[in-house]
């Protein structure tokens, strides 16, 4: 079956809107803390600025360091392609494609970690170790969340979990779906290095998680990394939006509009979180992640318990 045009359009929307979600988040945070803040389009300007610059490469790095940004974007795009962004069917779908999603994201991270270790810097080594610690728990949480959806919709493909069967499951499964959505939001903040897990605005290397790994990247390489983390955030946000508003039986135009609005609303939600809580101490982060993952676990139990 050929993928529908709506799937391509939805992917295009996500690709275009992704940096804007970050812009909305930082603008929301600025307004809530009574500052004017940067323009919403600032993240686009930053990307353009970086793309026009040259890259500085350390003598100690190898090809791994060069390859990581490109592979990172590619794997994030793959993750985007297995999700039914238009609320119906994904560009690539097969039974068990949910595993492809999780590991496409993990693969990108793995390359970034390799690139960080490639520099031989003690900072980046520390960042890599922190990033992997966070990622290993996030991965568990993601699988529990998708497990819930799979049990609810009786499919193992994301196109089913987030497509028409989801809308059908809403009337009976809404408590589990809502819990999953909340858990996913908490995991998204960790996965995409936002407060309270990481602070994208800090300049203090010793406290960073994700940012410290990419200290040595510059110019277009850095632009690719920044773009792909924005994209990753939007992809997970798109899943949350679909959970809260199943779009399987909406008209195509409405479905796409809901997607775009939902992504921007996620940006607002992130901004609100960042304007109201402080960052966690590093040793407390696993606790936070475990709490988020346990929401996935409870919703899974709920679904399995109530299903005949």
């Amino acid at each position: 079956m050929r993928p529908a045009a709506s799937a391509w359009i939805a992917l295009a929307i996500v690709l275009v809107v992704a940096p804007g979600v970050l812009g909305v988040a930082s603008r929301t945070r600025a307004l809530l803390t009574r500052r004017r803040g940067a323009p919403v389009l600032q993240s686009y300007y930053d990307l353009l600025k970086l793309l026009r610059r040259g890259s500085v490469l350390s003598d100690t790095t190898s090809r791994v360091f060069r390859a990581a940004p490109v592979c990172l974007v590619a794997s994030t795009l793959l993750a985007g392609a297995v999700i039914p962004l238009d609320g119906r069917a994904a560009l690539i779908r097969f039974p068990g494609d949910v595993v492809a999603l999780v590991y496409a994201l993990a693969f990108g991270r793995f390359l970034l970690v390799l690139a960080a270790l490639d520099t031989g810097s003690s900072f980046e080594g520390m960042g890599a170790s922190r990033e992997v610690t966070v990622a290993s728990i996030v991965e568990l949480g993601l699988f529990l969340s998708f497990g819930t959806l799979a049990a609810l919709t009786k499919t193992s493909s994301l196109s089913g979990m987030l497509g028409a069967p989801l809308a059908a499951a809403w009337p009976t499964g809404s408590p589990a779906i809502l819990m999953t959505a909340v858990g996913l939001f908490a995991l998204m903040l960790a996965e995409c290095t936002r407060v309270p897990v990481d602070d994208p605005a800090t300049h203090l290397e010793l406290t960073m998680i994700h940012e410290v790994m990419i200290l040595d990247h510059s110019g277009p390489d850095l632009a690719l990394i920044l773009y792909s983390s924005a994209l990753e955030l939007s992809i997970i946000a798109a899943i949350i939006v679909t959970l809260l508003a199943p779009r399987g039986d909406m008209p195509v135009a409405v479905s796409l509009a809901v997607l775009a609005a939902g992504l921007l609303a996620t940006g607002v939600a992130i901004g609100i979180v960042e304007a109201t809580v402080a960052r966690l101490r590093l040793p407390k982060i696993p606790l936070y992640l475990a709490s988020a993952a346990s929401l996935g676990l409870f919703s899974l139990v709920l679904v399995l318990w109530s299903s005949p």
Binding site: S122, A278, P283
Partner: protein, 503 residues
């Protein structure tokens, strides 16, 4: 009661050099040892060449609870048994003496470079620098699982240069060594050699965020030697400026702490309030940091009725805004969990090492020059000493909060009832062969300027001790056992000066 180590002096009261006892080294060491054990602490300990082949060590000590200051001295040759072998507080000062005066203290428990410069106060016959001889004294810890992390001297923010070397096991800090000296400008030499009107600018540039504190301490010393009597009005204006400086820096620090824990609302509100305080200093002196305000004999600018009204209104509004934001910041559970139990300095360590200022007050060691050795306006208008007991980042933030509230009340009261009179009195030539110590409670803690004049009435030795010099070792003491990711937050809670230390 422990007897005073040497002759009693007062804060900003000059005394003849001849009155300072000159002891043998053994007796000198014993006196310092007995005094530090009996509640005294070293304010400053420095060397000045006495003859071509002899160095005079001068030690100023304070007993804060009794409000006493005392000075004693000894003559030493180039090689001498270290005093720090008997009294821990002398340790860092003896490193400084070894570097500045090319002396060699034998048996020093940890002789290391302080600023890495050639000796500039050595007796003329002592050739050969000791700068190369003194290493940075970095700790090395063996083992495959221990890794070293080197931070700086180029800082990621826009603050000053300093190098931090960690030994860490995973995320846990095993040891921290702070290497400073990148900002060394030869301040003491400049203060001794340049004419008085130019030396004033040097004094104002010792630490850019403590302009009023250093300028007032410098002027306090010069005025005592120049027999100048400030008018009550000038004293009040200096007091207001000093407290405005404290407000700006304390509020700025609270904002920076909020920023470091990514608590955005408080960071931006505090940041705005800091600006308001600096703007009031600007209204008073034409400079946001108060440069050009404090001069020997008084102040260059008066507070006219309009400015007084602005300051009074400013304090009323700041009081309300600050209370609201501080409640927000200190009340947030996510903030509390970041600040509590991090970077602890115990009261026992503080007393043993002689820490001063916020660091001391945050572990329930009430040391405040404004209260213990009052001077100027603080003799008439007392500011209660603010303390906390936990000694962690939270306690240091809390002390700042309390001090902000008290400084606001002080400034409001002072501008409301400014005494009349001129703001500037004449300041004559310096008295000959006299010694004076001027202490000032800057926002970080005790700023000390000690001045010694010679037979012609020119400055023979000008010793500056910034609170940062006392307190940098506190970070090295506080960090082991903490998370390496908590270091920037801890460091911010101390917020020590690099320039003030490096001189």
């Amino acid at each position: 009661m422990t007897p005073a180590p040497g002759v009693r002096i007062g804060n900003r009261r000059s005394a003849p050099v001849a009155g300072i006892p000159v002891l043998g080294l053994t007796e000198f060491g014993a006196q310092i040892e007995a005094a530090t054990a009996g509640g005294w602490r070293i304010v400053t300990l420095f060397g000045t060449p006495e003859t071509a082949d002899e160095l005079r060590l001068i030690c100023v000590m304070a007993h804060d609870a009794r409000g006493d200051l005392a000075v004693t001295s000894a003559l030493v040759g180039r090689d001498y048994p270290a005093i720090s072998a008997r009294s821990r507080q002398a340790g860092r000062f003896e490193c400084e003496i070894a570097e500045q005066c090319a002396a060699r203290p034998h048996g020093h428990p940890r002789l290391r470079a302080v600023r890495r410069h050639a000796p500039d106060h050595a007796p003329s016959h002592w050739h050969g620098g000791s700068a190369d001889a003194l290493a940075n004294g970095l700790t090395t810890i063996g083992g495959d699982e221990v890794h070293e992390v080197a931070v700086g001297p180029v800082h990621a923010g826009i603050i000053e240069p300093g190098h931090f070397r960690f030994n860490a096991h995973g995320e846990e800090i095993l040891s921290l060594d702070v290497v400073l000296g990148y900002q060394h400008r030869g301040v003491e030499r400049l203060l001794e050699c340049t004419p008085r009107d130019r030396a004033m600018y040097v004094a104002e540039s010792i630490a850019g965020d403590s302009v009023i504190a250093h300028a007032s301490a410098y002027c306090g010393a010069i005025e005592a030697l120049g027999r100048s009597h400030k008018s009550p009005r000038a004293q009040a204006i200096r007091g207001i400026a000093l407290e405005l400086e404290r407000l700006a820096n304390h509020i700025g620090d609270l904002g920076a702490l909020s920023g470091d824990v990514a608590y955005q609302p408080a960071a931006s509100y505090f940041g705005r309030m800091r600006g308001d305080c600096l703007n009031l200093l600007m209204a008073m002196s034409g400079n946001r940091y108060g440069r050009g305000l404090v001069r020997p004999g008084g102040t260059t600018f008066d507070i006219d009725a309009g400015t007084a009204r602005d300051i009074e209104h400013g304090m009323a509004r700041l009081g309300d805004d600050f209370r609201a934001t501080a409640d927000l910041f200190f009340g947030a559970s996510t903030v509390q969990s970041r600040l509590e139990g991090v970077g602890v300095v115990s009261a026992a360590t503080c007393i043993a090492e002689g820490f001063v200022g916020i660091v001391a007050r945050a572990c329930d060691v009430p040391r405040d020059v404004r209260h213990d050795h009052p001077y100027g306006v603080f003799r008439f208008a007392q500011i209660p000493v603010s303390t906390a007991w936990a000694g962690d980042v939270y306690a240091r933030a809390l002390v700042r909060r309390l001090e902000v509230q008290r400084s606001i009340a002080f400034i409001a009261e002072q501008v409301h009832s400014l005494p009349g009179g001129e703001t500037r009195a004449p300041c004559g030539a310096l008295a000959r062969n006299e010694f004076v110590v001027a202490l000032e409670e800057g926002w970080r803690g005790e700023v000390a300027h000690a001045v010694l004049t010679d037979a012609t009435g020119s400055v023979r030795r000008h010793k500056v001790t910034d609170p940062s010099f006392h307190n940098w070792p506190a970070i090295e003491v506080a960090m082991p056992g903490n998370q390496i990711s908590d270091f920037p937050l801890s460091n911010k809670s101390f917020n020590l000066s690099y320039a003030g230390h490096d001189l």
